[in-house]
């Protein structure tokens, strides 16, 4: 369906300018987490253009993006690298190619499940679900902070929800059916 | 509409920016559809709707007018006159039954060869969707009318034999 990985990335909104990259590294230099990456943003672009799909999607580096959009704002060639990171993450998620990381899988799916269930987010339930999915001992870690939040009145005791939850579920399902593109 | 409909597009380009821009597309070896036929004018301000209507009369499916970007006119502000005319010409064309996709007025500078190619590409695509321009030559019943006329002539001819002039 796609000529190569570059072609695939370019087919998504935000991915279209990837061929314009001149490998200047402004993205990496601007990135608050690139210091912890094996493949820096600039290198990821190189890898994409070298058709190394698996290497890229397997890498946990793409999950280190903090969505701060500094690379996007500064890119001298107008490449929306934050959007490309999102595209990479969705592909890795869809094709289940990412290296195993319980924390990431559990947190992201807990969040997504909550939206599907209630339409809105609440931190208490999210943390609870996340901890149960990973390691219930985590609850002890979150415990002190959670208590403080409760005491300060900053934890929702009754989970919020919306009236037309069916509609939200329906649009989410329809979106999923359409390949998530 | 036919499967392999290839629209004919007339491009009227100003000499200094857009024609040079189209030249640049050439010198840069950019490929774009061969549907456009370019006619050069010195300034887009030279373009009058007569030229556009003539194109449709001659079987064009679309007309593209292009000049220098406002502020960059070789003749100071000829393109300002172009931009004054465009909205009224577009409305006139729409009113007389020419779809808006068929007339485009754009700005292409001498350095925008790539943009020129893209514009042509887009226009060809848009016009392919709406199909060929139907000339306003009237309805298919022309032939019927003609037949009626012929038959009345026959009636007249038969009548002549025994008739006389009146009035």
């Amino acid at each position: 369906m796609y000529k190569d990985f570059t072609d695939e990335i370019m087919s998504y909104p935000g991915g279209e300018k990837i061929m314009a990259c001149m490998q200047c590294g402004t993205c990496t230099g601007s990135c608050p987490t690139s210091h912890a990456m094996q493949y820096t943003p600039r290198r990821l672009i190189s890898l994409i253009r070298a058709n190394q799909r698996e290497t890229v999607l397997k890498s946990l580096d793409i999950w280190k993006c903090a969505s701060c959009y500094t690379c996007t704002a500064r890119c001298p060639r107008g490449i929306k690298f934050t959007d490309i990171m999102y595209i990479l993450k969705t592909l890795a998620w869809k094709d289940q190619l990412m290296e195993e990381n319980k924390d990431i899988t559990a947190f992201y799916s807990a969040f997504q499940d909550l939206i599907a269930k209630r339409g809105r987010m609440n931190e208490s339930e999210l943390v609870l679900k996340y901890s149960l999915k990973t390691n219930p001992a985590k609850l002890l870690e979150f415990g002190p902070l959670g208590m403080k939040m409760v005491l300060k009145g900053r934890a929702a005791i009754i989970p919020p929800s919306i009236r037309n939850q069916k509609q939200v579920q329906k649009i989410l399902e329809l979106a999923k059916e359409r390949g998530g593109e | 509409m036919s499967e392999n409909f290839e629209p004919k597009i007339l491009g009227i380009l100003c000499n200094w920016c857009s024609y040079a821009g189209a030249d640049l597309a050439g010198t840069s070896r950019l490929k774009y559809p061969a549907n456009i036929r370019i006619v050069r004018v010195m300034c887009s301000g030279r373009v009058e709707p007569t030229l556009i209507l003539k194109a449709f009369q001659e079987g064009a499916d679309g007309v593209l007018v292009s000049g220098c970007h406002p502020g960059d006119c070789h003749y100071v502000d000829g393109n300002i006159k172009t931009l004054r005319r465009t909205p009224l010409i577009s409305r006139l064309l729409t009113q007389i039954g020419i779809e808006p996709e068929r007339f485009k007025q754009v700005w292409v500078s001498a350095s925008e060869g790539e943009k020129f190619g893209k514009i042509v590409e887009q226009m060809v695509e848009d016009i392919k969707k709406i199909g060929p321009y139907q000339k306003k030559t009237g309805d298919a019943l022309d032939t019927v009318a003609h037949e009626v006329y012929q038959s009345t002539k026959e009636v007249a001819a038969t009548g002549e034999e025994g008739g006389s002039h009146c009035g």
Partner: protein, 287 residues
């Protein structure tokens, strides 16, 4: 002026203080906020990481609901603000997004009847009320209060209303309220909000560099415009300080809380008591 209010999930939970101060301030400014009926979560940074189309459809539903009513959509949360603006941008720019969203909407009984303007609360206050008027309304100037202003990322990038590298809006507002605005290079550096749960090591470092500079320049508090930033810098501050051996605590306040104070509202009315790091000591300066 009537506006449509999209509070976002946090303001009904962990950022109740923000919501309280927003309500207080808008009342003083004679702005009317009406909540977008039955709004849903915008998907934040999670949904776009998992499913491209879902991440378009979620905020799009909010726009469709908002389009039924009149008034600009006012968003107090940076992340929600960006999500909503981004879907607008994508729908305008990409035909495929437009078509898929409308197609799905068609099947779910939704219709996008217009494109309401999406604006951050700070943007609305500065543009529609204006600094001049705010200056006149100040009852209790924030004199002697030294603040650093932290706009965060998504207020200014990629579709924000202020300079993405050196935003001015918050500085101007705080100066107008009488506070002393200290130079701060971390204004738009990321706090790591989206990574704090899953990759705390990365995020803690980011939180620390923001807090560290605020302490270095001598700020009494960090002013924020986003519940995510506030939570990160406030609730995790003790953990971060422990990790990097810092001793000083810096309170993190919402711009609306300080604005409320300056406009003469009561401290507790503004949720100031809800800060994990209490701002009260720092606020003694202004009495």
């Amino acid at each position: 002026m009537i506006y449509q209010y999209y509070p976002g999930c946090s303001l009904h939970a962990s950022a109740r203080d923000y919501d309280e101060s927003v309500q207080g301030v808008v009342k003083s400014l004679a702005m009317e906020l009406k909540e977008v009926p039955d709004w849903n979560c915008c998907g934040a940074t999670i949904t776009p990481s998992l499913n491209q189309l879902q991440s378009q459809i979620l905020p799009a539903r909010n726009l469709a609901l908002a389009a039924e009513n009149r008034g600009d959509v006012v968003v107090p949360c940076n992340a929600c603000y960006m999500s909503l603006k981004k879907i607008q941008y994508n729908m305008a720019k990409y035909k495929v997004v437009r078509e898929k969203v409308t197609e799905i909407f068609g099947q779910a009984g939704l219709r996008l009847t217009g494109m309401p303007k999406v604006r951050h609360l700070l943007e609305v206050i500065l543009e529609d009320v204006g600094l001049e008027k705010i200056k006149q309304m100040v009852k209790k100037p924030l004199k002697d209060l030294k603040v650093v202003n932290y706009s965060g990322c998504q207020l200014v990038r990629p579709l924000g209303f202020d300079n993405p590298e050196d935003p001015q809006a918050l500085d101007n507002l705080m100066s107008a309220l009488g506070a002393e605005v200290l130079p701060f290079s971390q204004k738009t550096h990321c706090c790591g909000g989206s990574l704090i749960t899953t990759q705390p090591d990365l995020a803690f470092q980011m939180v620390d560099s923001i807090l560290e500079e605020s302490r270095a320049v001598g700020a009494d508090m960090v002013v924020v415009t986003c519940p995510m930033c506030q939570l990160n810098l406030d609730a995790y501050q003790d953990q971060v300080n422990r990790k990097f051996n810092r001793t000083l605590q810096v309170p993190i306040t919402y711009f609306t809380q300080l604005m409320g104070l300056a406009l003469g509202l009561n401290k507790n009315q503004l949720g100031l008591q809800r800060g994990i790091i209490s701002p009260f000591k720092a606020l003694e300066k202004i009495g």
